[in-house]
């Protein structure tokens, strides 16, 4: 097992022109026809360059040599775009690798003793002990103990995080460092397939496959290329018939100018850069397919807690019922929550300690009692101590428990529960045996700005559904405050699964975040499943993305990145096709004005001579690739908006812009080209 030492934030940052130079050797290597043939558009340019070069060597003239040179530049610039995009990823992977060194793991053998083995020898299921100052030798789950861990090597976040056994914060990543305490980790991945290995492969683009949409677009571009190839091939007999036979150089120049070289050259760079933008936001996707799917998502499932509301619900008030005093309720509430590891449970103990002077930790006697842990099914937790049976949990669950024992639940309980729920709080009912002691109020605080984000999502056509274990009343109050479209209250894991299935049945793509083991099936079922890095290994394996920052609101950014990726492709394709108009106006009069002088009226740019006109078009065609590399890497600007306004804006900028730009560009280049002697 290999690890990293230097903390390093992943992400290549902004594009610097210097990268063009450093990527040049890679771009030259890509001139190999075996590489070019993978891209039909550029292969045609490559073949055309070879052809024109042969003719330029056989019969050299300023024009033919200049066209040959610029055709090669066109291929080179296209390679450069890909090389720059790949180079950015490679640089990141390199810096990760450089920091690698082997670790030694303390493996627990069958008899309980420990042996020291190289990290690379660990197998799935091995138990290893990691102590303060040591590097965790592989990905896995903490099965014993609690520790603070420095995960900056992976996440770039320098604040240490807590990892503990049980619950949803048990996953640890190989290569991170334990800062305090001691944990036992069960290894969950094979060597070479760890998270860090996947991350390196990902940023390098080594295993990059074309995504479905990229394949479809490539087919369309190949079709356009064939059409233009036919148009140019058929043009020669027509020219000959008209008494204006054209040279191979001119016909090739026309062909290269017409086929969609701009998008053909930038297509793979756009894909690589899309992944890169995710990585820059500390999100790792297992495939490009997932990124594309993110753009298509029409339903977002968001957990209320931590996503819509701040962190955890906190106990804020104790409301005794009937003859019970506040203090009696506090004692019962504390007892019932001692075993409750959830943040809510801890907040109850904390509240009892702070406001009622009770003990924070459990006494030895209490520790020996029988704990009833909270489960998603019972929705209750509690303790059986010296004959006292104390429970607290969801109102309906506790009511059932009390009634089962023959107790009575006063109406007052329902009133209080409903009131708290209606106010957006979460009521927990605390009961001891057959007597309801009171109600504990847990309060949520909705994060600022959420309402606006959900409004933007709605404009993009994305429905937000809040998932919560709260009762419907509570859920509705929070849903209204946060501005989500829908909510799923009293949600059990299987409800979440059912909701995803129902949405998918209706043809909608669903995205969700999750961290717990019981989220894993839903994460796997969702079209975009983002697992939190703090979550369990099971969750991280099930999803198709991992958010290293463990920020559930990141889902919204992921959707935007997916959309931006597709928009960039569409915009540059439109731009590329729109460019052809000006090229016709430049090249056709140049080719045929000799036999049909009236065609010179189409030379609206007043280009200097036929040779200069054709060369200028070729030069423009090559330069526009370089000019658009930054845009391809950055992605076109995306603002959440409805489909109509997005299309209108992009058509205006890239369609109309694509028509106008080459007129200006070719005209300007011609001003320089005409200075070349012999033009």
């Amino acid at each position: 097992m290999t690890v990293l030492t230097e903390p390093k934030r992943v992400g290549a940052g902004v594009f610097a022109p210097r990268q063009l130079l450093t990527s040049l050797p890679d771009a030259l290597r890509k001139l190999d026809p075996r590489h070019q043939v993978r891209n039909p558009v550029l292969f045609v340019v490559w073949a055309g360059s070879v052809l024109v070069t042969v003719f330029a060597v056989a019969d050299p003239s300023v024009f033919s040599v200049a066209v040959a040179v610029w055709l090669w530049f066109t291929v080179l610039f296209a390679n450069l775009a890909e090389a720059v995009a790949e180079g950015r990823g490679k640089a990141q992977a390199e810096s990760l690798r450089r920091a690698k060194r082997d670790t030694v793991a303390q493996r627990i053998v069958a008899d309980g003793s420990r042996e020291r083995v190289p990290g690379a020898d660990l197998r799935v299921g091995d138990l290893v002990v990691v102590e303060a100052g040591e590097v965790i030798p592989g990905d896995g789950d903490v099965v014993e103990g609690i520790a603070t861990v420095d995960e900056s090597a992976i996440t770039g976040e320098s604040a240490p995080v807590i990892r503990e056994s049980g619950g949803d914060r048990s996953a640890v990543t190989g290569g991170t460092t334990v800062l305090s305490d001691r944990i036992v980790v069960r290894i969950a991945t094979k060597p070479g397939e760890s998270f860090v290995d996947r991350m390196i492969a990902l940023v390098e683009g080594a295993r990059r496959q074309k995504t479905p949409n990229e394949v479809a677009l490539t087919i369309l571009l190949a079709t356009l290329t064939i059409i233009f190839l036919l148009a140019v091939v058929a043009l020669q007999p027509m020219s000959a018939y008209s008494g204006a036979r054209q040279s191979v150089t001119v016909l090739t120049a026309l062909l290269v100018c017409l086929i969609p070289t701009t998008i053909g050259a930038l297509l793979s760079a756009i894909g690589i850069a899309g992944m890169d933008r995710l990585v820059q936001r500390n999100v790792l996707a297992t495939s490009g397919r997932a990124v594309e799917a993110a753009g298509d998502v029409s339903t977002l499932l968001l957990d209320k807690t931590g996503t819509i509301t701040f962190g955890n619900r906190q106990a804020t008030e104790l409301i005794p019922i009937g003859v019970t005093t506040v203090h009696e309720l506090a004692v019962a509430a504390r007892l019932s929550s001692l075993a409750d590891e959830t943040p809510e449970g801890r907040s109850i103990v904390a509240l009892c300690a702070k406001e009622h002077g009770l003990l924070k930790g459990a006494t030895d006697r209490e520790r020996a009692a029988k704990f009833v842990p909270f489960t998603a099914q019972t929705r209750m937790s509690g303790i059986d101590l010296d004959g006292r049976r104390v429970r607290k949990g969801a109102a309906s669950a506790v009511r059932e428990w009390v009634v089962d024992q023959g107790g009575l639940v006063p109406d007052e309980v329902r009133d209080v529960v409903d009131r708290i729920g209606a106010e957006g709080g979460t009521p927990l009912v605390c009961a001891e045996g057959r007597i309801v002691r009171g109600v504990i109020r847990l309060s949520d605080v909705v994060k600022p700005g959420m309402r606006q984000r959900f409004g933007e999502l709605r404009a993009m056509g994305i429905k937000t559904v809040m998932i919560t274990g709260d009762n419907p009343l509570t859920a509705r109050a929070i849903a209204e405050e946060a501005g989500v479209d829908d909510y799923l209250a009293d949600a059990k894991p299987e409800d979440k699964m059912a909701l995803i299935r129902a949405e998918q049945e209706g043809g909608r793509l669903v995205a969700m975040t999750g961290d717990g083991t019981n989220d894993a099936p839903a994460l796997a079922q969702a079209d975009v499943g983002v697992a939190m890095n703090t979550g369990t290994m099971a969750a991280k394996e099930a999803g198709n993305m991992v958010d290293l920052d463990s920020d559930p609101t990141k889902l919204i950014e992921i959707v935007e990145i997916g959309k931006q990726l597709l928009i960039t492709r569409g915009a540059l394709t439109t731009f590329s096709i729109a460019n052809d108009l000006a090229k016709y106006f430049a090249i056709l009069p140049a080719m045929f004005a000799a036999v049909y002088p009236q065609l010179d009226r189409l030379n609206i740019m007043h280009l200097h001579s036929p040779d200069s006109a054709i060369l200028s078009a070729v030069v423009f065609n090559a330069l526009v690739i370089v000019g658009l590399i930054p845009l391809a890497l950055r992605g076109v600007r995306y603002r959440p908006a409805g489909a109509q306004s997005l299309l209108r804006r992009n058509l205006l900028v890239y369609g109309l812009g694509g028509i106008v730009t080459p007129f200006a560009g070719i005209w300007l280049i011609d001003l320089l080209v005409r200075l070349i002697p012999g033009m």
Binding site: N213, A216, A231, L254, D296, G570, T574, Y596
Partner: protein, 549 residues
């Protein structure tokens, strides 16, 4: 003024029948019941009408049926001397028989022969007219296959070709043709089984003027966007098209089914506005091209044109410039190919306009059925780019445009430019071509390009001015018609199968609506742009050079 009145009358008439006929056709293709005569036909050919077909079965049926039709029509012509009413015209020469068999089965109706001299009444009625009905019904059937692909969700069947074929013929084409033929007879179109009438010319000489059962053929020739005339002069012949009223009726018949099919489409996919938006794009392009051709013909250069007040060479006095431009624009915009004037005599711009109508790919409004599926293909290409630009995997009518859909659409789009460009290019390479042309220079190139555009788009109209009886032209144009028809049909049916399998994606605010002006602009722009980018180099050496001269 009279010209504008004709246009207004035409549009009003189309508007009146749009709803009833469109809805009628939607019912025909979705009806659960079978007419008695239909059930009888299914029993004869042993077809189980209730069973839907997978797209491959449907496509095999289309191809098999068409292959049998070609062979039958070929043999019928070759064996003409054995048939009654052959008028002593003997077996049709092999080259003509081959070209004509393909031409009528592909709904092209390109005519490389002089009907009065070659075809007897039996071949005309039992061969050519039958194909006028059936080739049109095939076009509509394929279009319905595609429409079902959009309408169905998670299905593996796209309908039954035999049922679509029979219903299209029995419930749509035959009744419409019957009524139209009677109207045309009323307007003076000839209907006779005699071979001709003997007349004494003003100079005292005697001659025979050929007669034929014209009215019945004329009706389906226009209705089915076929275009093959019983007389060589086609709809310029007074026996086929006697006057201004018959001219207007024939134009109406040409446009009738292609226009109304947009309503049928909207009805069947459950959103009529989807049909209206296609109609609006067709209508705008049709109107724009009409304006171009009309203006060009009214403003021809030259002394003769100046004296006549417009370009009247090659036009019939009884139709005038307006009636000729309206007819020319409708016949080239629909893959009909009937002509009431010599397109060869049109000005560079006017003739170029007729040529461009075909090079759009015949979708303004296009042939019966073929116009609808052609514009749907362009809509999918347009939506692919538009969809990307709104940041989603592109979709149209709730169906995602993935690899298979784009491949099918690309093949359908690619077939026509391939045969037109390669055919015209190859023809110009041959030494014999220059001799076959009436005109040298740019106009000669227009003539060759027009011939291949007409064949490749299954239009069948002739620019004329080019002699196409050589083996090269008979064979190459025959193959152009064949590939231009059946390659897109296969791609369209494959697409239909793939779409039917998909589940519908629901509409959200993120879905690009395909009913508004923005989509209409995008679609119209795509149609024009694809044609322009593909053909501008060739057009520059033909009509553009002519028009700028």
């Amino acid at each position: 003024m009279a010209g504008l009145l004709q246009v207004v009358l035409l549009l009003v008439a189309l508007a009146v029948v749009y709803r009833p006929l469109g809805d009628h056709m939607a019912r025909v293709y979705s009806d659960e019941k079978h007419w008695r005569v239909e059930a009888f036909l299914y029993r004869i050919v042993r077809v189980e009408p209730k069973t839907g077909q997978h797209w491959k079965t449907y496509a095999s049926a289309v191809l098999g049926f068409s292959a049998v039709s070609v062979i039958f029509l070929f043999l019928l012509q070759r064996l003409q001397s054995l048939l009654p009413l052959d008028l002593g015209r003997g077996p049709v020469p092999t080259g003509i028989a081959f070209n004509t068999a393909i031409s009528f089965v592909t709904n092209t109706n390109w005519q490389s022969y002089v009907p009065e001299a070659v075809m007897g009444h039996t071949v005309q009625m039992a061969g050519l007219t039958v194909q006028n009905f059936l080739s049109a019904a095939v076009g509509m059937a394929v279009a319905m296959g595609l429409v079902r692909g959009f309408a169905r969700s998670g299905a593996d069947r796209i309908g039954n070709f035999w049922v679509d074929l029979v219903r299209g013929t029995v419930r749509i084409l035959v009744p419409l043709a019957f009524v139209s033929a009677i109207v045309l007879v009323g307007l003076g179109v000839v209907m006779s089984l005699k071979s001709g009438v003997d007349v004494v010319n003003p100079d005292g000489s005697q001659s025979t003027i050929a007669l034929a059962p014209a009215a019945s053929q004329e009706a389906i020739k226009q209705l089915g966007t076929n275009g093959g005339g019983v007389f060589n002069a086609n709809s310029a012949h007074p026996f086929e098209n006697p006057g201004a009223w018959s001219n207007l009726v024939e134009i109406f018949l040409i446009l009738l089914i292609p226009v109304c099919l947009t309503r049928t489409f909207g009805t069947l996919v459950g959103n009529r506005r989807q049909g209206y938006v296609l109609l609006s794009v067709m209508g705008v392009l049709w109107s724009a091209m009409l304006a171009v051709i009309w203006w060009a013909e009214a403003h021809q250069h030259g002394t003769a044109a100046l004296l006549a007040g417009g370009g009247l060479e090659g036009k019939e006095q009884r139709f005038g410039i307006a009636g000729s431009a309206l007819f020319a624009n409708s016949t080239t915009g629909t893959s009909t190919g009937a002509v009431n004037a010599m397109h060869d005599s049109f000005s560079g711009l006017g003739g170029g306009g007729a040529l461009l109508n075909m090079l759009f790919g015949e979708m303004t409004p296009g042939g019966v059925g073929s116009g609808l599926y052609s514009i749907l293909i362009m809509a999918m290409i347009a939506m692919f780019l538009a969809g990307l630009m709104v940041g989603r995997t592109p979709e149209y009518l709730g169906k995602k445009l993935g690899k298979r859909e784009v491949t099918c659409a690309a093949i359908a789009m690619l077939a026509m430019p391939t045969v037109v460009l390669l055919g015209a290019g190859a023809a110009l390479l041959l030494p014999g071509t220059a001799a076959a042309l009436n005109n040298p220079g740019a106009h000669g190139l227009s003539e060759v390009l027009y011939a291949y555009a007409s064949a490749g788009n299954n239009n069948g109209s002739a620019f004329a001015g080019i002699t196409v009886t050589s083996d090269w032209f008979q064979t190459s144009l025959g193959l152009c018609m064949l590939f231009g028809r059946f390659v897109p049909i296969l791609a369209v049916l494959c697409l239909a199968g793939s779409l039917a399998e998909q589940r519908k994606v629901p509409q959200t605010a993120g879905t690009l609506p395909t009913t508004g002006p923005l989509f209409a602009t995008m679609l119209g722009g795509t149609v024009v742009l694809v044609a322009a980018l593909t053909f501008v180099p060739a057009l520059a050496l033909g009509p553009i050079a002519e028009a700028l001269a």
